[in-house]
Symmetry: C2
Amino acid sequence: MKFIHTADWHLGKLVHGVYMTEDQRHFLEQFVELVAEEKPDAVIIAGDLYDRSVPPTDAVELLNEMLFNINVDLKIPIVAIGGNHDSAERLSFGSSWYEKSKFFLTGKLSNQLSPVHIHGVNFYLVPFAEPSYVKHLFEDESIHSHDDAMKRIVGEIEKQLNPNEPNVLVGHAFVLGGKTSDSERTLSVGGSGCVSAQHFEPFAYTALGHLHSPDALKHEKVRYSGSLLKYSFSEAKQEKSISIIEMKDNGEFDLRLRTIKPMKDMREIEGHLEELLDNQYYSKQNTEDYLKITLHDQGALIDPINKLRQVYPNVLHLERKLAIADMKKKSNFTSIKEEGKSEIELFTNFYEEMTTAEFNEEKRLLMVDMIEKVKKEESVK
Amino acid sequence: MKFIHTADWHLGKLVHGVYMTEDQRHFLEQFVELVAEEKPDAVIIAGDLYDRSVPPTDAVELLNEMLFNINVDLKIPIVAIGGNHDSAERLSFGSSWYEKSKFFLTGKLSNQLSPVHIHGVNFYLVPFAEPSYVKHLFEDESIHSHDDAMKRIVGEIEKQLNPNEPNVLVGHAFVLGGKTSDSERTLSVGGSGCVSAQHFEPFAYTALGHLHSPDALKHEKVRYSGSLLKYSFSEAKQEKSISIIEMKDNGEFDLRLRTIKPMKDMREIEGHLEELLDNQYYSKQNTEDYLKITLHDQGALIDPINKLRQVYPNVLHLERKLAIADMKKKSNFTSIKEEGKSEIELFTNFYEEMTTAEFNEEKRLLMVDMIEKVKKEESVK
């Protein structure tokens, strides 16, 4: 039985102010061709189909079209779950109808955890869910963390699991030890949000979404497929891939990776302005790529961004290599964890990093108030 | 061939700050029972399934559940179109899959106007579309108004229409002469937005949505079903109904109306505070209804709203009957059309009526600027 494992499509994503929908369409059209060529028994999408709960309408149309191509035109079953970026309820609309065409979509976790059977393999669909929701769902007061929640969910699955058949869990979670990048939204503020890989022991393969690198986790049977495209410069050096799994009846499997060339790559380049603007340098590159450029020049430069954009139209981020004297400022961000900052300091850093607005006294007081309320509620529990 | 004509469900609607979702669920559960009893060959929903392009998630879940009950559990075909409140693209997601279960959903107008055939009747689905979209769709520069657009659409349909079969148009439009109420969103600011009923001549029946009264239009073959529930006090005296049409092969039809009792009615009552709070008066009424109360008392009253809410918990609007001296103020609103006010005056009135915020100088200047720009663009054309 052969299936393709993919995840984290993030349709409708904005990267540094640029909508990626056109890039995503270009990529997915090739993906559909790859699927047509491979003729798998199923395509698995492990969450974060969209980048947000209310995606732009062209992302909605793109997802509809691509899934239709795979499921109806190519007649290949699809197994998909909601991720932390998807709206569980909005994604779920219509899923009861899709099943007739073997498109199995579970946007929202329910206590009905019966598997989807495809060519002898049982797929257990575990969409992303907050611990508080799982606690309520199973009326289990002992659930506080993502780890507690996953333990309980797998416990429920094990009640019905046939260990003599190949079982696959499809999930969207942050597995302990996984390597993160800048484009994954933190699952849990304060706590770790982590889930132990041990929970997935009963499964022949665990098809995960959430972390964007295909080798985010070094584990034989518990795997991230990685995201469709590079969605942040921290992923610039990753090689994105599509995982193709051929599973035997005893649960053993072969894994093969295939790559698709994106319309524009996402890369980092650095050097002196003059070097980067030299034809000798840029003629060997795809200058249309999305770029983060770090300039080595010291002192004032006249309008470097516009000069660079004449050669590299898709510069998304420009920065200067800091002299040692400037490094102190920068260290505010890099050493957050070590310094044990207060919540309000952490939030102030976050706000300043994420927005261009001033974090004024009014906003500060609002946050201080909110943090205190949350702490009070926690101490009551 | 028997079909049920309904429209304007407006799931997720807020009326005077109250979410109607619970009322809508109660009503639709009875509607599903009515459908089960009538066993029609199709259920037609002529637009405005949701109240807005991004409805609340419980409205999404409600629509999914009710349509599933009708279409999959009862195995009754559904024909539905998008209205001016729906998002054409969001509503359309998955429609290609639904067709397999005979759930025909057209959220967005396309130039593919082929009909849906159900038991000998041809249904032509014409979702709401802006004239500019229709102009672009048919590359027809002569389209400026809703009337132009509908004329063109029907013209396209006529190219393939078999006049010897019963043909039904399902549309969402404001037909000339139709009676409006306060809960329909204006289709066209400035122009009339009206469509002539004559365009629908080729059809044995035109199943319309948009106007909320079942007798909004006095026409034998072109009919509004009216909205699911009363959605404004201007509809308080309407009797909402479900239209059941039995169509013969020659296109003649019998029309029967059925009513469903809502969980809470929407009514207006008036009198002196003391009267309304008298047990003799209110004991004969359903005091749980949504009420608009007009008090006849003159002079100061101490906290009338809270006194009234102890008896009538769902008072949504309270007003005082104005003495003649106060009527002058009020006339600002009622005589807008006669006085020929400027755009900025009209907008100021609108803003003050719709919000509780002050229409300050900054906002005023912004609007003046915007109105001027629009006017300039118009004069360029």
